[in-house]
């Protein structure tokens, strides 16, 4: 049953990759990329149970933390065009 679950998650991952490739806007691709990241974490956890090697869960925790930070960083970049504070042209020190 772990094998069946892994196959299901892999199929979902393939569908997300398809959306990532054809998605018309950047937000579609970003949504699909987030779904792929979640699928990867789930896949790691399931694979650890399938092979009786629970060390994979630690990698899953790392992936979860990275996923969050990457998503928020990309969104902030989309919104403000930069990762720092926004440039004020009147008070620009340069």
């Amino acid at each position: 049953m772990f094998t069946a679950a892994i196959l299901g998650v892999l199929a979902a991952m393939a569908l997300a990759v398809a959306r990532c490739l054809i998605g018309p806007t950047a937000f579609d691709r970003l949504l699909a990329a987030n779904a792929i990241g979640t699928s990867a974490i789930l896949l790691l956890a399931l694979f650890g149970f399938l092979t009786d090697r629970p060390e994979f869960l630690d990698i899953g925790i790392t992936y979860a933390l990275l996923n969050v930070i990457a998503m928020l960083a990309v969104l902030k970049f989309f919104r403000y065009g930069a990762l720092g504070h926004e440039q004020d042209p009147e008070k620009d020190p340069n």
């Binding site: 299901g8 979902a12 937000f27 699928s39 899953g60 933390l65 919104r79 340069n94």
Partner: protein, 164 residues
């Protein structure tokens, strides 16, 4: 007693198997919705199924197998991380999409899906999207002069002594 232990293991395998298969099914439904829905906002709606129900059922299924051990605790940690941050990410994505001028598809009088400018229905929407939330204020502080090369946000930059 040997038979009893086998029976308990069998029940555990059955319960976790049913949960895992159901979770994988919901996960797959979410991924199919990601491909079939017409615009970004409905696609976000579709993936929320896989992020909550699919993920939740599969993690509970693995938790039944793991039992109250360190492995189970790690599973709970991963699940809590994903479960708490998925709505935040979706919210930020929807906000960024609206801010970027993405128009959601709404049905007109004949039932066709047309891109609709939400500002016509909600007059204060544009102002609300444009103005940053109080928690994500990124403007430079008023009095600060020499903080142009500071990469931090305004509040953190004020509290911290300048190191450059």
């Amino acid at each position: 007693m040997e038979f009893l232990g086998d029976a308990a293991g069998l029940v555990r395998d059955l319960v976790s198997g049913v949960l895992l298969i159901a979770g994988a099914g919901f996960y797959l439904i979410g991924a199919i919705g990601l491909n079939r829905m017409p615009d970004v906002f409905t696609r976000m709606h579709a993936t929320s199924v896989s992020d909550t129900l699919g993920l939740g059922l599969m993690f509970v299924g693995m938790l039944v197998q793991a039992g109250p051990t360190l492995i189970g605790f790690k599973l709970v940690v991963i699940f809590a991380l994903l479960f708490l941050t998925a709505p935040i990410a979706t919210h930020a994505l929807a906000r960024a999409a609206l801010h970027d001028g993405e128009e959601p598809l709404l049905a007109d009088e004949e039932g066709r899906l047309v891109p609709t400018d939400l500002a016509a229905s909600f007059p204060d929407l544009e102002q609300r999207i444009e103005s940053p939330l109080t928690s994500e204020s990124v403007t430079a502080p008023e009095g600060g002069e020499g903080d142009g090369n500071d990469d931090d946000t305004a509040q953190q930059g004020e509290d911290r002594p300048s190191n450059s």
